[in-house]
């Protein structure tokens, strides 16, 4: 396997997506487009869990794991994102 072949892989695309998502969440935190802090905060959390899901599915290879693990992984990401967003919004009363 040549070096290029090692680099030219799904994992590299995933890394690029993760870096782009990090830049996006940075911008969101600094007020990109969303005036309300609550919207920016929610967006930051959503992007964070998109990143988490990418790491779980593609770096940790749960995408190709036995379906029970895949289901557990997807469920955890969804539940955590929902719980944290609910708590975050709940604080802004």
């Amino acid at each position: 396997m040549s070096l290029w072949r090692l680099v030219r892989a799904r994992t590299s695309v995933v890394w690029l997506l993760l870096v782009a998502a990090t830049a996006l969440s940075w911008k969101l935190s600094h007020g990109l487009g969303l005036a309300e802090p609550r919207d920016a905060g929610c967006a930051v959390l959503v992007v964070a869990f998109i990143k988490v899901r990418l790491v779980i599915m593609d770096f940790m290879e749960i995408r190709g794991a036995p379906l029970a693990m895949r289901l557990a992984g997807e469920t955890w990401v969804l539940l955590m994102a929902a719980a944290l967003i609910a708590l975050y919004l709940g604080a802004l009363q």
């Binding site: 396997m1 892989a9 790491v55 593609d58 379906l67």
Partner: protein, 205 residues
């Protein structure tokens, strides 16, 4: 009537479909048990943090402003890149290019060092400014969670150093690959946890 299995093995024109790779969990079952437990503990940390943040919103919001978001972002890049190097190392070992694997794991280890250096300067600046674990609740959580995470980073760096040596001698059999996958999976959790910590501590307004 054709049996179901052969009906699914071919396209409409009867051309055989390539075999799908069997589903595979990378690493030993034991490491996944640990990973799930670790994630559950950190899940509690995350929920606890946001709950108590809700109780002292103004304090948490003000305190966050003393964090260096640039350094937090830099650390995120170190974590993401280290995971990429680790994933590449695993692919190298599986793809018959095992000689490249030690370089991948060494580079991942170097990213870990970068993370450590940034953390050192970050903590030092805070402590010099008089911001410690006892300053307020936000900083109690900040030091506690980033501290526990950093201990994971140190353990992970030990694992990466081990993997660098482990793959040095080339060709890996199935058992060796599974051990490498176990170490890799642990490191990805370290990355994953930081992604959430960065969002919760540094970014959410």
């Amino acid at each position: 009537m054709r049996p179901i299995s052969s009906a699914l093995d071919t396209t409409a024109r009867g051309v055989p479909l390539p075999d799908r790779p069997p589903r595979h969990l990378p690493g030993e079952a034991g490491i996944w048990l640990f990973i799930c437990g670790d994630l559950l503990v950190f899940s509690l940390f995350f929920v606890t943090f946001l709950y108590y943040r809700g109780q002292e919103l103004a304090l948490f919001r003000a305190a966050r402003l003393h964090l260096d978001q640039g350094l937090g972002a830099l650390n995120t890049l170190f974590m993401l890149s280290s995971s990429w190097f680790v994933a590449s190392g695993v692919r190298a070992v599986r793809g018959g290019a095992a000689r490249m694997a030690p370089y991948c794991f060494a580079l991942a280890w170097a990213c870990g060092c970068g993370f450590g250096v940034v953390k050192f300067f970050e903590y030092r600046a805070k402590i010099r400014a008089g911001i410690t674990l006892n300053t307020n609740d936000f900083y109690m959580y900040y030091y506690m969670f980033t501290g526990i995470h950093f201990m994971h980073v140190l353990i992970g760096m030990g694992v990466l150093a081990f993997l660098t040596r482990y793959t040095w001698r080339g060709a890996c059999d199935a058992r060796k690959i599974r051990n490498i996958e176990s170490g890799a999976s642990f490191w990805h959790v370290v990355d994953l946890l930081w992604i959430v910590l960065f969002a919760l501590l540094y970014l959410i307004p």
